[in-house]
Amino acid sequence: MAFEPNPDRPRIDARDKVLGKALFAADREVPGLLHAMTVPAAIAKGAIEAIDAAAAARVPGVVRVFTWRDFADIRETPATRGGGGEVPGYQPMKRPAIRHRGEPVALVVAETLEAAIEGAEAVRIRYRASDFTGWHDRPGAEREPVQTDRSAGDAPRALAAAARSIDVTYDHPQQHHNPIEMISTTAAFVDGKIVVMEGTQNAAAFKFGLAGMLGQDPAMLEASSPYVGGGFGQKNQLQEQTALVVRAAMLLKRPVKLVMPRSQLFHTATYRPFSRHRMRIGASEAGKLEAVLYDVEQQNSRFDQYASAHGEHVSRMYATPNWRSTNHRVRIDVQSPAQQRAPHEHPSSYATECAYDELAYALGIDPLELRLRNDGAIDPISGKPFTSRRLAECLTRGAKRFGWDRRTHEPRSMRSKDGQLIGLGVAAGAYKASMAPAVARLRVAADGSSYLAVTGQEIGQGMRSAVAAELIDVLAIDPDRLEIAMGETAAAPQHLTAGSWGAASAAPAARAAALQLRERLVELVGAERANGPAHEVLARARRPFLEVEVSHRGLDQPEAVMDRLNRGLPAPAGPDYERFTAFSWIAHFAEVHVEPTTCRIRVPRVVSVCDCGRVLNHRTAISQVRGGVVWAFGAALREIGEVDPRFGRVLNNDLADYVLPVNADIGDIDVELLDEPDINLNISGAKGVGEVAMVGATAAIVNAVHHATGKRIRHLPIRIEDLL
């Protein structure tokens, strides 16, 4: 299949967003709405002995104070909070017990937000505190057995036999997503059904997971999440408050809204956990990789199953004949961590790509050259070919754009005119190219309007623009008159949008629907007269509209997967397919300047070149890469959730003290997308871009800091005190 490159097009919902017409969950008006506020637990572990809600109930406007007794019948099903996992998750406020700091212990519902807040502050709780473990290195941390993640060849033996080897350990801190759209839940009643409005990547969880928890028929629940103001994995599932708010609305028979304050989110929402990465690499003198042993430990809660799955992409980055990766979790008394943008790929690329930089220096080889020498067309783990892999091209094109050839190898060897130390660093990344089943319902009318309902969540990444591109490509429809329903369980079955599979799942479904509609036009008017904009063909044929519906599955997915989709369960495929392994690829180059006296680190320039398959919308895709680089900058130099283990609590739980990058921190980010369709993967030729964007970029910055200063800092963020 030959594709014309998509021309530059604005984001399809840009105008609505600028005009404030794109309404986010908590902004929607609901008549008769009540407001809720949670009371967070003041201890990290223990029991509730007594709750005195009398003063709270007396606050004018307070309608009711809910405690665990009201919610004891909420069920912790295998699908608790929508994960569809094998074991039940944990739902706070079902029992008089506290399992982590800050979990909701009471829910105050009132006529106004102010009354709800005042009521929540007036609730008095007597606790019986127990000992708890607030950090992985403290007594009581429970170490799970080490699990082998992936292996090929005999890595320990090859390491022992290798001419050269290194053994380094990198720590990655806890981080919090902090999307701008706060986490909120609104439960309302429409036509006898409960409609839950919540910014989510997973509307399906609200129809099915929530139904299970509340003992309801899923047919009685709908979820509506047409826009999400940043998810990044924090909105992959029901939140701790979701079932509580919906149950409260059911008990009160009135709509209820809760917007969780940001300070509480640090203790109720998911986050990226602390992880420690040991890399042992064996190589020949010429820099051929012979063995990698990669061992990771990751902090976890006591009660959830968030995997430590750090080996998935790093094992396929380079032609490593002998590989072994292991994972193990350390359980402590905190709320559950979970996915955060490039959940394992970002920390694992940070650790491994920094380690390869160390290897390059140990061998005296240029770090770009080391990567090129170990490029390979075959997945070393499965022995299968990649659907597409243009990593070497990303590296060489990026090197040229960046001016890598002006780099001198020795650390501390480059200086700016004003005396700053200059460092140039490189690192590469990959992210699995997954796909999920999707349903697309398309209707094109002779009056020029069209409507598409599709499986998929617009989480700001630009999925509406991506599916629109396919309709424009095949049917030449007018994007200004196109309405797209996404994240609406009432419009089409919904599936978790995560793991960068969104566009590669929805766009092929949209394209398949468009192709089918084109065929129907051919049937209608004959092949010669079926060309041109679809609505014009319809007008000529005097047909008011045509409608098609298609179900589209990921590569190699069996028919039965549609059943999982229809039950709201996650059903992604990849990166390991029957005949292929599939990844998106990226190379990042970073320039850092370090002030010699007070050691402030600046990053004036990053160049990123990405192989993400066919580009559906250049602006949204490039913006994804820029955003990913900003995240990586934040990870390298700014962000850390500071936990005081004496209290088991994140101390810097607001945006004043959780240091995110600001505009003045960010220099030039120059992005190139190769725009080569991956025709082995799907009919749109699309792979994901949102997550791969970030993978490796932190390592490029850290490696550049080493090049500038000669210092290897093996933890994040790198701050002034590390370089003084």
Binding site: A42, A115, T598, D657, V659, D665, I720
Partner: protein
């Protein structure tokens, strides 16, 4: 909703009278950027607000006499952008321009700025009563000591409290020997800025030498030729919109290439705006070199008492002073 009364005063006397009537639970409010923040955090719980933002003439900036005068109600942004201040006293303009964000500077007053409270996270994280804090609740203890103390002070600390005095503007005022002009039920008075800020000692909840019901009416800065060779150098965790890890307000009077008089004050490292007399003494009479500036900077920290994670502030502070001295010296008088 927690009930409170709110009145707008049009004159200073009206404000003082209203405060007197309202009693101990009253607070003046100017830009509100500190007070509303602390109210939301549950740390301040006033019952009466007396809005002083509209007091006639309170925003006056006068640079004509033998001293600079800034009315307490002058906006941070207006002082930062004042032509004379920028040209003749860059240390003052920069201390304001490098604080907070443009939006906040448009709201916040230079009088309210003097009374902002510490950013110690254990202090601010008050609601819920998880962290003991002597400043918030006297006698409960100090969670920062032995805790996450990266941001805490190394100078002027006590067994009770190590919280940093957060403001930038007060540091610049300290370097230039400003006077704080006050008015209260007992009439007007003035206090040297050096006496306005209290060391924590055993009473960290007492921070300012201001009496109940007193209002800041203005700030007076004696004019000095050192103003032109001055700078406020601020090192922080990101390029903007952050409080100082270490900062230095420097103003120099020169005799040829020798320092005649040095004004040095530090922020981000101490429990109050910190005058570094040791540094001044080592600079005065000397020809400036970076080595000398660094040695003088180090002297400011001779009495430093770092905790677990903030030891770097000693070296960072000394280097910040040294860089600032060199920046100031290069400015044209």
């Amino acid at each position: 909703m927690r009930q409170l009364t709110y009145v707008r005063a049009e004159t200073i006397d009206e404000a003082i009278a209203a405060h007197g009537r309202a009693g101990a639970q009253a607070r003046y409010i100017a830009g509100g950027t500190t007070l509303y923040d602390l109210m939301k955090l549950g740390i301040e719980q006033p019952a009466h607000l007396i809005d002083i933002a509209d007091i006639q003439g309170s925003e006056r900036i006068d640079t004509n006499g033998d001293r600079l005068f800034f009315g307490a109600g002058a906006r941070m942004a207006d002082v930062a952008e004042d032509r004379v201040v920028r040209r003749d006293y860059p240390v003052l303009a920069e201390s304001l321009a490098k604080a907070a964000s443009q939006q906040l500077r448009n709201m916040a007053s230079v009088g309210g700025n003097l009374l902002q409270r510490t950013r110690c996270p254990y202090f601010r994280n008050g609601a819920g009563g998880v962290y003991p804090c002597n400043k918030r609740e006297p006698g409960t203890g100090c969670a920062a000591i032995g805790g996450l103390d990266r941001g805490q002070a190394v100078l002027g600390i006590s067994e009770s409290c190590t919280a940093v005095s957060p403001g930038d503007w007060p540091v610049a005022l300290t370097a230039l020997d400003a006077e704080i002009l006050l008015s209260g039920p007992a009439g007007p008075r003035s206090v040297p800025v050096a006496d306005f800020y209290l060391l924590p000692g055993g009473t960290p909840h007492l921070e300012f030498a201001i009496r109940p019901g007193e209002i800041v009416t203005g700030i007076a800065v004696p004019k000095t030729d050192a103003g032109r060779r001055s700078t406020y150098h601020k090192i922080r965790d990101r390029e903007t919109y952050a409080f100082a890890l270490a900062s230095a307000a420097i103003a120099l009077s020169m005799d040829g290439d020798r320092v005649r008089r040095a004004h040095v004050a530090l922020g981000g490292v101490a429990t109050r705006p910190w005058r570094a007399r040791e540094t001044e003494a080592l600079l005065e009479g000397q020809r400036l070199t970076r080595e000398r500036a660094l040695a003088a900077g180090r002297a400011a920290f001779a009495g430093a008492r770092p905790g677990t994670h903030n030891g770097f502030k000693v070296e960072l502070g000394a280097r910040t002073i040294a860089d600032a001295v060199m920046i100031a010296a290069e400015r044209n008088a």
